[in-house]
């Protein structure tokens, strides 16, 4: 494994009065993929949001390039693409407009053509002119995922990206992820579906059962 870009040290997250995990440490280098496993409510989403800097951890450190992310928000955000349970799309805008706004804001200089190509790749050619609102669940998610093709971020954090996608789209997304990892990118993802994400240096992280009594389970990270 290359030099670790992302390092998590002794992370502890608490929601309400519930400790989700503690003493969680792992590190991730270029060209690797981390698959976070765990039953419902085990804290996968919380972990991913903490890494993205959207949730404050109780204790522990999250470092990017050796420095804590909270100290270098702008730099870290430039390297990060987070897609959560929410679609993160403006439902009144069309898919094209949504992507264009994100591309502009992230500072990357993206041509009309590239946006169209991304939408096309995700099979949305015939609904570029429709507001996202009227699209089907799967089509909405495809629009959100099309961002993956447009933003040159190093670290992708994907929280259940396969939800609502049909078989063809799942296949496509897997290809996109594999290509990203192969090109030296990093991906952290969770999914409950059985999909074959075998690529690069693959790590699995298992978060514990969501049981009341058994709060502070040791998290097991195993190298593939």
């Amino acid at each position: 494994m290359d030099k670790a870009l992302l390092e998590i040290r002794e992370l502890e997250c608490v929601r309400g009065d519930k400790q989700l995990f503690k003493g969680l440490s792992f590190s991730l280098g270029a060209g690797s993929l981390l698959h976070v496993h765990g039953p419902n409510g085990s804290g996968k989403t919380t972990l991913l949001r903490a890494i993205a800097g959207l949730v404050l951890q109780e204790s522990g450190e999250i470092c990017w390039n050796g420095e804590q992310i909270s100290r270098q928000k702008d730099e870290f955000n430039r390297e990060l693409l987070y897609l959560g349970h929410h679609y993160g799309l403006k439902f009144e805008l069309t898919g094209y407009e949504n992507l264009k706004v994100f591309a502009n804001l992230s500072g990357s200089d993206i041509s009309e053509h590239e946006v169209e190509a991304a939408l096309m790749r995700f099979g949305l050619a015939h609904c570029v002119e429709l507001p996202v609102k009227v699209l089907s669940q799967g089509q909405k998610r495809r629009v959100a995922l099309a961002r993956l093709l447009l933003q040159p971020s190093k670290l992708w954090i994907l929280d259940e990206p396969f939800v609502a996608l049909d078989a063809a789209a799942v296949e496509l997304l897997l290809d996109v992820i594999k290509a990203h990892v192969a090109a030296g990118g990093m991906v952290i993802l969770t999914t409950h579906q059985e999909v074959a994400v075998e690529v690069g240096s693959l790590q699995h992280l298992h978060l514990g059962q969501a049981q009341p009594a058994q709060t502070s389970q040791a998290a097991v990270a195993e190298q593939h």
Partner: protein, 222 residues
């Protein structure tokens, strides 16, 4: 920097144009609120003329405040706000862009409409002018201060009413100087003092409010 600002302003204006009625409805709300008063109070011309400035200003406050609730709420609900927080640009700049768009959509039309409403209440010439000028100076302040309230109440149930609770007290100085300037000029006294005070408030708000709203947003999204 300017590119980011322009992108945000254009985005929000595009969104508003998608529903052109948005722009119209704020103005109409303003008109309707102003028109409600004579219905409640009665048609006596002298009484109405005396209340005119106050009523128009209160209506402007309410109209601007009502449209505020939506300033960040849409972005919050569909998860775009989360994404905006992750954009590698200063958040206060993004906020400023949104506020600017909000003012263009909901503040500027009020300024344009105000002389017509003033006429209905029997205001004339100079008073109408003064009403317009004070609104021109005052409505951006309303949008800027309002953004703080909107950011703080984000995602809370009952945000609409809560935001007014937070924001209206902040609006009061603007209201007093704004309506005061009109009344003063109607009474033949100079209103320069009022106007320069409003200018100062505007500058202060322009510097501080985007920054405060950005901080509030970070708190609300967690």
């Amino acid at each position: 920097m300017l590119a980011t600002l322009r992108c945000m302003v254009m985005r929000d204006l595009t969104l508003a144009m998608r529903h052109r009625s948005d722009v119209l409805t704020t103005v109409f709300f303003f008109i309707i609120v102003v028109s409600l008063f004579p219905l409640g109070v009665g048609p006596e011309a002298a009484l109405l003329k005396e209340m005119a400035a106050g009523v128009v200003w209160v209506a402007a406050l309410l109209a601007s405040m009502l449209s505020l609730t939506r300033l960040f709420a849409d972005d919050y609900n569909d998860g775009t706000l989360e994404q905006l927080l992750l954009v590698p640009q200063p958040l206060s700049l993004i906020v400023l862009g949104k506020v600017l768009a909000h003012w263009i959509i909901s503040g500027l039309p009020l300024v344009v409409m105000s002389p017509l409403l003033g006429l209905q209440f029997g205001l004339e010439g100079d008073e109408l002018m003064m009403l317009m000028v004070t609104l021109l100076l005052g409505t951006p302040v309303l949008s800027l201060l309002g953004a703080i309230g909107a950011a703080l109440t984000l995602g809370l149930r009952g945000g609409g009413v809560l935001v007014s609770l937070l924001v209206l007290p902040l609006y009061i100085p603007v209201l007093i100087f704004g309506a005061g300037a009109v009344t003063a000029s109607a009474a033949g006294m100079g209103a320069d003092g009022h106007l320069s005070l409003m200018g100062a408030i505007l500058l202060l708000a322009l510097v501080l409010a985007p920054w405060a709203s950005a901080a509030a947003l970070r708190i609300s999204v967690e």
